[in-house]
């Protein structure tokens, strides 16, 4: 099957897409080239600069979370390929304003190594928070766990704290506090196609699904056949709850995230089922989010994320945010 996408050419796909993003959100962001990174248009001095980045193809992650209350900058790599250290170095040099730089990195070997080299080469003070919220793999796996939708929670919560003037040490501590309280897992019902590859990354038969899929189409726990949404949600929720073991009555943030090609109406089906699971267990659904936030190009699929709330996380989650993809409060 030939690839059917809105592109001019695979070689200019990323720059064309970023140019469009910058044009659409010119009030919020600024696009820098050679090397490529995006920054907030209106910067605030004296705060820790939060910079994230990773392969493209997961939009709105990370560029859609640049703005007051979240990121100061983001370094997009090629599709599903980590950015390179020169991007992080330039972004850091440009955005650092006296309080150091915090890198928010999803746990993939390429991202980790490229951010690590940037961190070693940097002249500015910097620290790194690693996100590894995908419970599809055991915590003991040789690669560690992948960073997926939990990244948005980390960017939101730490972004709110940084906006209030938290220093690097406080942000690292907040990251350590948040981490064991979040868990995510996804399921794919179709593959996705990297433009440069021109064909689907993996093959799923007509009635097949990948349970525990990663946001690049990496395999998860196992292949299965398509089952009713309630059963799939139960399996994902079981995995998340086993990981988090929430106390009865615990307050939670529930996120249903689309992988790019799943209609919102289907995401709400999943959310409805997940909220019923919470209700049956006596857990309190305090905050919710449904939509496409951490995507995998044109994959049809979804992930569920649970985050156990406390007063501090709830306050940081509720704090005002003004980005292209998340916007609330004032």
């Amino acid at each position: 099957m030939t690839m059917k996408k809105f592109i001019n050419s695979v070689d200019t796909f990323l720059e064309d897409s970023l140019r469009g993003f910058a044009a659409a959100h010119a009030d919020l962001v600024e696009l820098h080239t050679a090397p490529t990174f995006l920054s907030r248009r209106h910067r605030k001095s004296g705060k820790v600069a939060l910079i994230s980045g990773g392969g493209s193809g997961h939009e709105p992650l990370h560029i859609g979370f640049i703005g007051p209350g979240m990121l100061d900058g983001a370094c997009p790599g090629q599709v599903f390929t980590s950015p390179t250290p020169d991007q992080m170095l330039r972004a850091g040099e440009t955005l650092e304003c006296g309080a150091g730089v915090l890198f928010i990195v999803k746990n993939y070997s390429g991202d980790v190594m490229n951010f690590e080299m940037a961190s070693e080469l940097a002249d500015f003070e910097n620290a790194t928070v690693l996100v590894e919220d995908d419970v599809a793999l055991p915590g003991s796996s040789s690669t560690g766990r992948r960073g997926v939708m939990g990244t948005v929670i980390v960017e939101k919560v730490l972004g709110a704290l940084a906006e209030e003037g938290a220093d690097l040490g406080t942000l690292l501590e907040a990251g350590r506090h948040l981490h064991p309280r979040m868990a995510s897992m996804g399921v794919a019902i179709t593959s996705c196609t990297v433009p440069a590859a021109g064909r689907p990354t993996f093959v799923l038969a007509e009635n097949e699904i990948e349970v525990g899929v990663g946001i690049h189409g990496e395999p998860g726990r196992r292949r299965d056949v398509l089952r009713p949404a309630a059963e799939l949600v139960q399996e994902l929720m079981d995995a998340l709850l086993e990981e988090l073991s929430p106390a009865p009555g615990a307050e939670v943030l529930l996120i249903v995230n689309g992988m790019g090609a799943t209609p919102l109406a289907e995401l709400y089906v999943l959310f409805g089922e997940a909220s019923q699971v919470l209700e049956r267990l006596g857990l309190r659904l305090e905050r919710s989010l449904v939509g496409n936030y951490t995507t995998a190009l044109d994959m049809a699929g979804a992930s569920i994320t649970l985050c156990l709330l406390d007063a501090e996380i709830k306050r940081a989650w509720d704090a005002p945010v003004h980005t292209s993809a998340l916007r609330w409060g004032r």
Partner: protein
């Protein structure tokens, strides 16, 4: 082992040959990566080699240590993924061990140093189904060849065979590093795309060094 004089000109020829060989095996490597990775490896590698070779004239003018460092920097900026920092570490490690004149011993030491730097960067070793399953045995093989003083043609053949055997050994391995590791047991049965690309490049570089084609 006697080597053709190893200088920046030869480095550029070797990179050029590696680039052509990867182009030739593009589809095959992409298919391996599609089976157990995320499909980006060969495109990243090609982008990096192309970016590096754009500077071939400047590279050829530099002394060997400087040109190896320039290659590292270029690859670091252009490859992305894990391969960028890993290949950059390999070339930086080699650059740091350059001592003129470059004897077979010095060359083997350069490769060993580069491969060690790569292991440290990737926190990986032998048997994890990565390009190190080709590069570690090749580095060891070069050390032995330098010790034995093997003639060039014999040495090149041994390097080719070692790289080939290393690449094939990854087929039965279960990946414990890189994206393929997410597959666990399901990664068995497919050759690692990074091991394959490394072996393809090493074979191409051996061809460049064969006496009939290499300047002495």
């Amino acid at each position: 082992m006697t080597t053709p004089s190893l200088n920046s000109h030869l480095l550029v020829r070797a990179l050029s040959a590696a680039h052509l060989a990867i182009l030739e095996h593009k589809e095959e490597i992409a298919a391996l990566d599609g089976a157990i990775g995320d499909g980006d490896h060969v495109f990243n590698l090609l982008r990096g080699l192309e970016a590096t070779l754009l500077e071939r004239d400047a590279l050829a003018q530099q002394d060997l240590a400087t040109s190896l460092k320039s290659v590292a920097k270029k690859l670091l900026e252009s490859v992305g993924g894990s391969a960028g920092p890993l290949l950059a570490s390999l070339f930086l490690g080699m650059a740091k061990a350059v001592r003129e004149p470059i004897t077979p011993h010095i060359f083997a030491g350069m490769v060993e140093n580069g491969v060690q730097a790569m292991c440290l960067r990737g926190k990986a070793g032998l048997g994890e189904k990565t390009m190190l399953d080709v590069l570690i045995p090749v580095a060891e093989c070069l050390g032995r060849l330098a010790q034995e003083g093997a003639p060039l043609e014999v040495a090149l053949e041994r390097v080719r065979q070692t790289a080939e055997a290393g690449m094939r050994s990854t087929q039965d391995m279960v990946a414990t590093k890189g994206r393929a590791a997410f597959l666990g047991e399901r990664s068995r049965g497919v050759i690692d795309p990074g091991a394959r690309s490394s072996q393809v490049m090493i074979a191409a570089i051996c061809d460049v060094l064969t006496p009939s084609t290499a300047p002495v």
